[in-house]
Subunit: 96 residues, 2 copies
């Protein structure tokens, strides 16, 4: 199991139509083959600058690579993530 | 549901007895009332500096506060986390 997460902050104002549009778009990543336990979440700790998170799991590295290379993921990164995300950190977990 | 996570790096060398001792100690937090879905994980993304993570869930803020204030958590923070953790970020999620 590999749990891939990204915690992020958007350039958009909280509650804006642009924010809602981004959140609708990111939720479509659930349809990419190999994605399991997909979640889009609100980040609520005041100890960091991020407002949202996305979390998903893959059964192995091949599934994770398949997701990363999938045209729908590549297109999302280019057309939505890069232009609309102000800051982010990727955190990936495996069992200890 | 509140998912509380902390991603961290220890002052200890990888594979050291001190590292193993810390990981044994942190796993005991599972016994604090209110803690659900407790996991200690290895962080594997090369895009951040952290090597481990801990994740747990609480049913509500009262359960989270009860954990934070529990003497076993307070003692762990004072005697192990503060002296042995080199860097960390806390990330807390709720449903969007």
């Amino acid at each position: 199991m590999i749990r891939h997460t990204a915690v992020f902050r958007l350039k958009h104002a909280a509650g804006s139509a642009e924010e809602a549009s981004f959140l609708t778009a990111i939720k479509k990543l659930v349809a990419i083959p190999g994605v399991e336990k997909f979640e889009v979440l609100r980040q609520v700790s005041p100890k960091n600058e991020f407002k949202f998170g996305v979390s998903m799991e893959f059964k192995d590295q091949a599934a994770y690579t398949g997701y990363n290379d999938h045209p729908d993921h590549v297109a999302f990164v280019q057309t939505r993530w890069i232009p609309e995300v102000a800051a982010f950190t990727e955190i990936d977990y495996v069992a200890l």
